[in-house]
Symmetry: D2
Subunit: 434 residues, 4 copies
């Protein structure tokens, strides 16, 4: 590939302009010649607005990139070099259900962990399988870069059930990196971090600055702000992180402070603030109003509230290292293959990998710290059952998956939540309605 | 050893007469010549009453067994063949605290699982280490059969930190065996069961009757009564067991129905019924009144309410197979050594073992069913940290252990519970007060 | 099964009367009602002589067992309870080639190890697969007890490529048991041995007598005679065994004393004594002359020279423990499943197993002694490649298998030997001639 | 460290000028301020000649590097940043014995594999331990870069028995890289290779050129010349490599073509050519004559005959990536830690590693190809026993190590060779003479 054809599935996402900003800024090393946004008819308005806005951005940058949108996925994929998936099956409405239903039973309602992430996996994986089938036909050598949550579970499904080369991506690791640099008051480029764990269940266990491991210094610093927009930081989490000797993904608050997080969610419901999905719908609405403004030709400030900070940076870094065979270290989701001794070889993990033209090769990490090993293994077993349930559409497997989720810890609630989710998302779960 | 010297540490337990009944009934194959009950001065009344009652039992059986009690443990241990430990450091009062303190923070309060079992481990393990030091000096070849809970954690500590030959025992597996026989309406001797998991976190995954695996038949039968006295059965647990394809240890209710179990405990507190420890104190009181009655020379009916059903049968079976080199299969707690592929070699497990003069050799089981693998691994990581905390008396390790317990899922509660437990049990936790 | 239908495939073997002697002597616990000998037309004379002789044996014992022979395997297998395979594809002539061809290239020529065993595996596995296909149709619940060498490789192929319940058997472990009893001058029933390793590459690492591990005593005794007829003992092997702390299978002489064993084989060729196959042909000839004698109605002394000592005992013990659900320990070939930590789960191993109606469950052994671990792993890799080569008929896989055999250590010789073997056994290797 | 103090132990080696050439050429990125050559009095002449010659080289390059030699190792090590060990305990005379003694018993006599490498390990490891003890006192943060053979065994000993940060290095991997580039007729910088295995038992399993794995193209090309000077290539080895799908370390000829290699060695003895050590002594003699020439101020052509091609390049690359925190991939010897699934975590392996200020982190490789897995595991078991023998000086462990070496395959020869080696090297094996 001398120049790049990049296809973005779920092009109607409000994040898309951020991604394109990255494409524009890195045009020298990543010569994109064609950019196609694929979406579903239901989302036409958004993808149309995005496309027009992005054309203005590219025009301003005086670059020669062909931009378009389409509903014809297979045609769009033809001869693609990179395919990015950032789709949301059922849209924010479905997400809202994912968040509300578990709360009915006093269980965490969250888009990526707990029963919410489980439901999202059930809806997403069949669509990802369809995309891969298309790719096998029309662009079998293309790289699939997946952002769709739950990114770790999707990565595992892709690696077990397709042959398409793929890497799962999340903006949390890069967010942790910046957070640690802030704590240490150094340039982010001067530190290197080692990440271990699973997607949205990850830990930094080593931070190197000028050759020394300075993680204990980083852990001494208490920080007010969290790493992601959508999870407000619990003060005592810094204390726990220090005891663990690990910098924590913000999503770990759901596991280490489940009661407090649950209460907060229930309170927000009571206060009529709605769940995160409800709030995001509003933010999105405003963003698209901005994007529609024909005078706008650069990423607006307001996008930063959306929560996907550094999403573009992570994606461009990854594509760049593949395309240019760089061989640097990035944190992505791949099959374990021995990287973490306590997990199966065929489990997806989020770890430091060498990135080059051949893809992502994890480095070795040995055993997890005992204090988080059990939790990670527990969640991984849940994830593996979820992959099986999403592929087979088997009710019992789905039930066992939810029972295995450490945020549920109530087999009866698991059954009730599952039944509600299957009913609520019926139209997006063909595999359960055979 | 031509005849057997048996030393029972914690001889003042109300269970002791049940054990001795087994000794009497099996005298032909297990020729016990001497029986010494060791206890602490605080428990003198109970051990004295037990000893006198037991002398009457043996007199009635016309056997030539020397019976005595003592506080001089080391002297009692001299040249012992079998040492049984059924001690309770701090007595039922300490147990009551183990049950009450977690409930203060809305966390399961239970003697063997959750923070209660954790506290019991911290108190018990140092005493067990002392016993082993004595044994290394005066009876280095004796077998230590441990009943003291949490039996699995104690087994792991013993195997990691002493050289005394030991096996951990629990009456749940034999209880599950009888329960399954009842479901199938067959003689318990006609079935064989395969047990996998950890102590108080165990599963039957195969039931053989006339050569066929009939576990699905056993799972179809709904039973009202639970397996142990102290855990009343939740109806839907049979449904969940069927979905899992596994017969469940009753203690799994704490994990699979945590909310319901917690509510029940909190309700009992409100209703002024006290915790299980409080109730047991009453039962015990009545039992010792009976034992004191000089006309009583056989195990009274009332003992069955105490909860240790088949405890004697399990103990006698085990000692018999060691002493007589039988080579049959029994379910005991031993180091894993590859029996369960998903756990470390040096983790204690509760599995089918070949029992003979050389001890207990686990059979191979391969991988755990995915639906329980994560939970078992999670609890095991907690157990391993608990062993380390109990041995070292390190505060941070203790905190991380509690955070790792899947029944806690709140790091702040973990800290509060730990601080309360360390304060409440101060006198029994010398390792934390160095 | 109330009474037993036993089918012996390869019924024309000179060992068959020994097996039947065991059947007769154990009729009380193993009520065989029908005994069918299956063979190929080429071997009619032998199987006919056997059948007539065996009828006389049974008549003498006054038992009611129906005896017959047939070439119609599938019909014979109908409703069988146990199927024993002791076939020799290509007969002793093929074995002779297995022994001669490697010697041409100065490589050990032996029936079960080295290139000879490799060739036997290539010929045998396809026939075993055919037998299993028949069994799946007409006796899917029967037990297949395989004696055919190389028994470990055949066991692995059966477990990987069929669903028929099967156990691999060899008379070496029982021979080692008797040998150790002789050394200790005790009744074989009084000791128990623990065996680890692979078929024809096995070690006793523990010997218990009255509860104590007495292996070092057993190793101190030097013995003149070996365990199997066909391998004369090398004096210094007792010294090496002592250094290893392990009692050695006689077949280990090929690995630990390769040069001496090879020289001996080459010398015998020079001296015109022929290989073992050539010698056995003579012994067999004489045996069948005896069997034909209508006055003979009991196993003749001469059979003991044939080399299969205690073959009948091992077989009857195994069938008895399955049929009567005994649950004792026997040494058989099964899938590893964690028994030996250094080998894959799906590798066949020869270890202590619990034998009952459900089959053979290996006990756990942890790691192999470092001093033999490498050799065992090396041979296992060769075995796994051999299974693949035998199933697929792929030339390159076969070549890599031979190169991986530690007795070959010459890739060029490997190629030459392979080419000669494929040519010599052409008619028995349809999978290589597709 | 702003500038570098580099200590070379074994500075009298004829390779040293090559290393210094690398230091000179890379002065811009590797600012060496001090260079000390340590040797033993026995080797004074060589180290003196080297030092004087090297001073002339540095003078010519107009660099400000302080150069000296000394016998006072501990003083030299003070505040060192990098310590390179390239020592040869007992000199070439000892090597000559390592090569001759095994040949007496028809076993491969070679400096690094087989009994020769074993003897070298026994002599070298105690000295390496002494060096590390010194380093712990006077430069505990320095990096130890070891070149001394057997480099993999030494690496394992260092990692098991010292805390000094260390990496083992060999010039074979870089040699294979250049060899593959030649086959493909491309610039070595354009390809990347993945290496798996052990030191002197390594394989390239993937070769990437412009993003594609082109190893099969590389394997199609037949090459006349081998990779290292001292092992002349066997023609058919390219055929075998192709069948394996792996590029082979030249040292694998000892394992895949043992007979031919042994015959060649025996023939050279007969022809009075001596062993490699004998030949090298001559080459060395000539080299030092050149070095002594006061007009020589650059590396002479003749050095290339010595066999250590690209030794300097490998060393400088490694030190540079550590010093400058580069994070590129290099092939070095480190502890496995999960990199190769078929080997223990605490086994040294030779694999692709990320090199930066923190040292070398291996990438994950999963399982070895089955066709070489057994051999690698076999050699690794030998290596682990050798480390134990070298540390403990235990005769039996040493004997078992030699018996475990797949190039020996004769336990009696093993004993004879061991006895001869222990006698011949008595003065260098204090651990065996306690």
């Amino acid at each position: 590939m001398n120049t790049i054809k990049l296809v973005v599935i779920g092009g109607g996402s409000s994040y898309t302009p951020e991604l394109v900003e990255g494409v524009i800024n890195n045009y020298n090393t990543l010569p994109v010649r064609e950019l196609i946004f694929v979406d579903v008819p239901m989302g036409e308005e958004k993808v149309r607005i995005n496309t027009q806005f992005i054309k203005r951005m590219i025009h301003k940058a005086q670059l020669n990139i062909e931009v378009s949108y389409t509903f014809d996925r297979k045609n769009a994929l033809k001869d693609a070099d990179f395919v990015m998936t950032q789709l949301r099956v059922g849209g924010l409405k479905a997400r809202s259900k994912d968040e509300h239903i578990p709360l009915k039973y006093n269980v965490i309602g969250q888009e990526t962990t707990g029963p919410g992430g489980f439901a999202k996996a059930l809806r997403t994986i069949p669509v990802m399988m369809d995309i891969c089938k298309d790719m096998e036909e029309v662009c079998p050598d293309a790289w699939l870069i997946n952002f769709t949550n739950p990114s770790g579970i999707v990565t595992e499904a892709l690696n077990k059930y397709t042959k398409i080369k793929n890497i799962g991506l999340c903006n949390v690791p890069i967010g942790m990196h910046y957070d640690i640099a802030e704590r240490l008051e150094v340039d982010p480029k001067e530190i290197s971090c080692n990440v271990i764990g699973l997607n949205h269940l990850s830990f930094v266990n080593k931070v190197y600055y000028k050759g020394d491991n300075v993680i204990s210094k980083a852990l001494e610093v208490k920080k007010k702000d969290g790493i992601v927009q959508n999870i407000s930081k619990i003060d005592v989490s810094d204390f726990i992180a220090q005891k663990l000797g690990l910098v924590l993904s913000p999503y770990l608050q759901y596991f280490f402070f489940e009661k407090e997080m649950l209460e907060k969610e229930l309170q927000e419901l009571k206060d009529d603030k709605g769940t995160r999905a409800d709030q995001v719908q509003e933010v999105e609405h405003k963003l698209f109003e901005l994007y529609e403004d024909e005078s706008l030709d650069h990423k607006p400030e307001e996008l930063s509230k959306r929560g996907g900070a550094r999403y573009s940076e992570a994606a461009i870094n990854l594509i760049n290292s593949i395309y240019n065979n760089v061989g640097d270290i990035q944190v992505v989701n791949v099959m374990n293959n021995g990287s973490i001794a306590d997990l199966p070889d065929d489990a997806s993990v989020e770890v430091n990998c060498v990135i080059n033209k051949q893809g992502a090769t994890p480095v070795t990490n040995g055993h997890l710290p005992l204090a988080v090993k059990g939790l990670v293994q527990h969640v991984k077993a849940y994830e593996q059952l979820t992959v099986e349930a999403a592929i087979t559409g088997d009710y019992d497997t789905a039930l066992l998956a939810l029972i295995s989720n450490p945020l549920v810890h109530d087999a009866e609630a698991a059954k009730n939540i599952l039944d509600d989710l299957l009913e609520a998302h019926k139209e997006y779960l063909p595999q359960f309605n055979k």
